[in-house]
């Protein structure tokens, strides 16, 4: 049992991991063929994972509706939203436009999906502005530095801000874009580069731990 549940999966992960890693650096026909095969397998697995996710989502919301848990009414919209896009997609055979204009799918996309998605994102702007007033407190030196950087970036990103900068600070001989360029090229890049290096080292270490069987959580608890 241990062989099937533990050793064989670990061997598969080790062999696949090493082969894929090596293929990235070896420009040989065999490695290219191997990567192409793996890519096709990956796409098939992703398709099944997508289907699994969809079924799981439906079961979860169906249960909420059947048990009438708090907010069960929202779960109905999961099915309405799904049908509002999938039925037109099937009717239109996946095409969104023809020479004569929108198909049913194109119409649903433009007038349902686009509107809903745009509205959801636009709501963020209201919360950001409200939070700026209610929560942005300059209580420490760090908060002050953050405020100054944010102030310059917010101001310099629009023409009206550039005009105000030139009017108030034009005598310094430095345009707001010069200051923004410096902020983006020096402190922002330094911070971002540190984060990127940290994340990359973490990802490499985790990958190696999985390939060499040190990290086994993906296999479950049994």
């Amino acid at each position: 049992m241990k062989l099937i549940k533990k050793q064989i999966p670990l061997a598969i992960v080790f062999i696949t991991g090493v082969l894929t890693l090596v293929s990235y650096y070896v420009p040989h026909k065999m490695s290219v063929n191997y990567i192409e095969t793996i890519n096709k397998w990956e796409n098939i697995v992703v398709a099944f994972a997508f289907l699994l996710g969809l079924v799981s989502l439906f079961f979860s919301h169906y249960n909420k509706i059947s048990r009438k848990v708090d907010g069960w009414g929202y779960s109905i919209f999961v099915f309405i939203g799904f049908l509002a896009m999938v039925v037109p997609a099937l009717v239109s055979q996946g095409k969104q436009m023809t020479d004569t204009g929108f198909t049913a799918l194109g119409w649903s996309y433009k007038f349902i999906y686009t509107s809903l998605s745009g509205t959801m994102f636009a709501v963020l702007a209201f919360y950001i502005v409200s939070t700026a007033y209610r929560s942005f407190r300059i209580r420490s030196l760090q908060a002050f530095v953050l405020f100054i950087a944010a102030f310059i970036l917010i101001l310099g990103k629009v023409p009206l801000g550039q005009i105000i900068w030139d009017w108030v600070l034009g005598w310094t001989g430095r345009g707001v874009n010069d200051v923004i360029e410096w902020i983006m090229q020096v402190p922002a890049v330094a911070g971002k580069r540190g984060i990127m290096i940290g994340i990359s080292i973490g990802a490499i270490v985790t990958s190696l731990k999985i390939i060499f069987g040190i990290e086994k959580q993906y296999m479950g608890k049994d």
Partner: protein
């Protein structure tokens, strides 16, 4: 007494602020201020120059990976980029790895292809949405047709005039990814660096600072950032569009944010020392 009155400002119903923002955005949208965009950032200019220097007939691949939520920022820059490519008579291929972007791509090409009399299959090709981006990017390095055998309408692509002589990345002149996600990072790491293809990008303003390291090392051959970047690109190709008009609304919204931060902090100082 005054202190208590000032404190009331912090308990203001947030809906008043929402209303203030709504009015601030509504006015310039209805009546644009028309302020000139005086400066063009070097990163935007680099994207423009990379397309501008290509000879007619070169193949440019656009990866348009944004959905309606980021449309106001990214659609104007994608439109400007496609207009630029068509005006230079470049051959255009379009891929996407965000399912929600397919309708926006259709809309864009239905409009812009008519402006330049470009024909689907002859001057441009739109590939279907594909999940699992990393597998697709890797596959395209050896054989494009191994993953994209048909266009988004199911028409076989192998014999399309637009794809004549195009088999993998080495046949492409530039790749431009417009996205509000981390997909541009994948293009840089898995394609640009590995296969030596120039990769440029267009991103939302909020994610723009994160690409500074790639720009410095020239792994990214230019970057258009947010609505301002879109407006800059529109002014470079001398075709004002939604980026240019949208920046008016941003003008006042940005100043409103600054004014609110200032106001709240000045009130805080007054309360503390009164």
């Amino acid at each position: 007494m005054l202190k208590e009155q000032l404190q009331k400002f912090f308990k203001i119903d947030r809906r008043w602020i929402f209303l203030l923002l709504a009015v601030t955005l509504f006015v310039p949208i209805m009546k644009p201020l028309g302020l000139p965009n005086k400066t063009i950032s070097p990163a935007t200019k680099r994207v423009y120059e990379n397309l501008e220097k290509l000879p007619a007939g070169s193949f440019v691949l656009f990866s348009l990976d944004y959905d309606p939520s980021t449309r106001p920022e990214l659609h104007p820059m994608a439109t400007a980029l496609v207009r630029h490519a068509f005006s230079r008579n470049l051959k255009v291929g379009v891929v996407t790895y965000i399912a929600g972007s397919t309708g926006l791509i259709e809309e864009l090409f239905a409009k812009v292809s008519r402006e330049y009399n470009k024909v689907d299959g002859q001057d441009y090709v739109i590939f279907p949405y594909q999940p699992n981006i990393l597998a697709v990017l890797t596959q395209m390095s050896s054989d494009l047709y191994g993953i994209y055998s048909k266009d988004r309408n199911g028409t076989p692509v192998r014999d399309m005039p637009v794809l004549k002589g195009i088999k993998s990345y080495k046949d492409m002149s530039v790749i431009v990814c417009v996205t509000g996600t981390a997909i541009l990072d994948y293009w840089v790491a898995y394609v640009g660096d590995k296969y030596r293809v120039p990769v440029a990008g267009g991103v939302t303003a909020i994610s723009q600072p994160g690409y500074g390291p790639y720009l410095q090392t020239n792994q990214l051959k230019g970057l258009i950032g947010g609505m301002k970047g879109a407006a800059e690109y529109e002014s470079l190709i001398k075709q004002p569009g939604k980026g240019t008009s949208g920046i008016d609304a941003l003008n006042l919204a940005h100043l409103l944010v600054l004014a609110l931060i200032f106001t709240s902090n000045i009130l805080l100082i007054l309360i503390r020392y009164l």
